[in-house]
């Protein structure tokens, strides 16, 4: 699981979003386990876009439940399955 994408997402979560390090596991539910409210999810999407230069749509964020889902979505985007943001 640990790779560059994981490390960067973890840095966003423990940094700007102040999620405790010990809560960060792939199966963690973003809302219930990591404590991200609706506005924190907006901040997270913004940080992902800035960090990975990808576009994260509102629908994608709404459909992502766990940290693992989120990491997979970012990896898929980086692998070129969708056009990157400019």
């Amino acid at each position: 699981m640990a790779d560059a994408v994981f490390d960067k997402v973890e840095a966003i979560l423990t940094g700007d979003l102040h999620v405790p390090q010990e809560k960060i596991r792939p199966e963690a539910d973003l809302r219930h386990d990591l404590g991200l409210d609706s506005f924190a999810a907006v901040e997270l999407a913004y940080s992902l876009e800035e960090t990975f230069s990808v576009k994260v749509t509102d629908d994608e964020m709404a459909s992502v439940k766990t940290l693992g889902d989120l990491l997979n979505a970012v990896r898929a985007r980086l692998a070129g399955q969708s056009p990157p943001a400019q």
Binding site: D16, L17, H18, F39, V42, E43, Y46, E49, E50, Q86
Partner: protein
């Protein structure tokens, strides 16, 4: 509301985050000693400007009073405002856990709001593209962020406002808080002001008005209200806070009472966005109304804390207005300008000066007007030049006259049960 139903309002806590001292004790000692907080600008590259000096608050650690997840997501004016509010609340001894917090509110003054983030995001928006703006833009920029964060941090459920009247914001904030307690809409108000105007764009905007001192070679001498050698005001940042409390509420919990707030007024010169009405008639009206609200006469006033910006326009108009209101007493009443050591912190200025007024009564000391070496011939009153003075002062008047001719005055009195 009839006079008999108005409730009495006392000051039970003080906080100050000023360029010449962080914390009430440090600020007051420096101010008594005429020690200036003005220095060369380090917050940003000021080299393009003719004026390169400012009143910068040094050594404020937001993590001392805010959790990191909040401290990192608010603008500097919120740090300054909550820094002062936290000191004032601690000083008051209020136990908020035991209070009905629907009866505790917060009204603060801020002329500008969260400028630093605003400027950074303008660069982002017009550089990388407007869709790349940070989702925190609105919450960091909005001027009411400072009062909101005080409420969020302390769980205050009463009236919550930010008043924006440029250089008079802090004084209006205190005055409107006074009314909330006086009229029974709240029992306790956390009030004051906060301003963080030392950002490149905003500093440039003030520089463009040609109102800032260019005394770059001697920053500590640059703010010199009523002095012939003045060449403009010095822009500063800061915050200050007062806890206003209904008298019986303060008594019931055995609170220490610094002073009583007995009068407030607000007027407009209806003249110009930047230039004071030259006869000072609007400033005079503000002083008269504040004295009338306090039900005292001019001769009762033992000290005036002047708006005293160190501009020719203000200092002369204010002097005329004081003469108009006080007549013969104008030559006897000591007057001083806190801005001589703090510079002009806009929306925080009136709040910092209110703290100085309360301490004047409480400590029996009038702080001097620093740098008043050679008075302007048009400014011929007793401005307590350079050296503090011992004096038992029972009633003080604090003046604030903002850009846009927004005027506000406060009257504080020694507390007598």
């Amino acid at each position: 509301m009839s006079e008999s139903t108005k409730r009495r309002v006392v000051v039970t806590g003080l906080g100050a985050v000023a360029p010449n001292g962080v914390g009430v004790a440090a600020f007051w000692q420096a101010t008594l000693e005429a020690r200036s907080g003005i220095s060369a600008i380090t917050a940003f590259d000021a080299s393009p400007f003719d004026s390169r000096i400012a009143g910068q608050v040094k050594g404020l650690d937001p993590l001392a009073f805010l959790p990191p997840q909040v401290a990192r997501k608010v603008d500097r004016f919120v740090h300054l405002g909550i820094g002062a509010a936290s000191e004032a609340l601690k000083d008051s001894g209020l136990d908020l856990e035991r209070e009905d917090r629907t009866r505790v509110g917060c009204i603060l003054g801020s002329g500008l709001g969260g400028l630093l983030f605003h400027e950074e995001q303008i660069v982002v928006g017009y550089g990388k593209g407007l869709p790349r703006l940070n989702p925190l833009c609105v919450s960091r920029i909005t001027p009411n962020a400072v009062a909101s964060h005080v409420a969020i941090h302390y769980g205050l459920l009463g009236p919550n406002l930010v008043i924006s009247t440029a250089c008079a914001s802090g004084t209006h904030g205190i005055g409107e808080s006074f009314r909330k307690v006086q009229h029974g809409e709240a029992d306790v108000m956390v009030t004051g002001g906060a301003e963080a105007p030392l950002t490149p764009f905003n500093f440039g905007a003030y520089a463009a008005m040609k109102v800032l001192s260019k005394r770059n070679d001697a920053p500590e001498k640059a703010s010199r209200p009523f002095d012939r050698g003045r060449d403009g005001f010095v822009l500063s940042e800061g915050g200050a806070s007062l806890i206003l409390e209904e008298l019986d509420h303060a008594r019931r919990r055995g609170a220490r009472v610094y002073a009583e707030l007995i009068g407030y007024s607000a007027t407009s010169g209806a003249h110009h966005m930047v230039i004071p009405e030259p006869t000072g008639s609007d400033a005079a009206l503000a002083m008269r109304l504040a004295l009338a609200d306090a039900r005292i006469g001019p001769a009762d006033v033992g000290y005036i804390n002047a708006h005293g910006t160190s501009t020719h326009a203000n200092d002369v108009a204010e002097t005329k207005a004081i003469k108009d209101v006080f007549g013969d007493h104008a030559r006897r009443v000591p007057i001083s300008a806190t801005k001589s050591v703090t510079g002009h912190s806009l929306g925080a200025a009136g709040a910092i000066e209110a703290v100085a007024c309360v301490l004047t009564i409480d400590r029996g000391l009038i702080h001097p007007t620093a740098n008043l070496d050679d008075p302007d011939p048009e400014c011929d009153l007793d401005y307590v030049p350079r050296v503090a003075r011992e004096a038992k002062v029972d009633i003080v008047l604090s003046n604030s006259f903002g850009f846009g001719n927004a005027n506000a005055c406060l009257v504080f009195a020694r507390f007598a049960p």
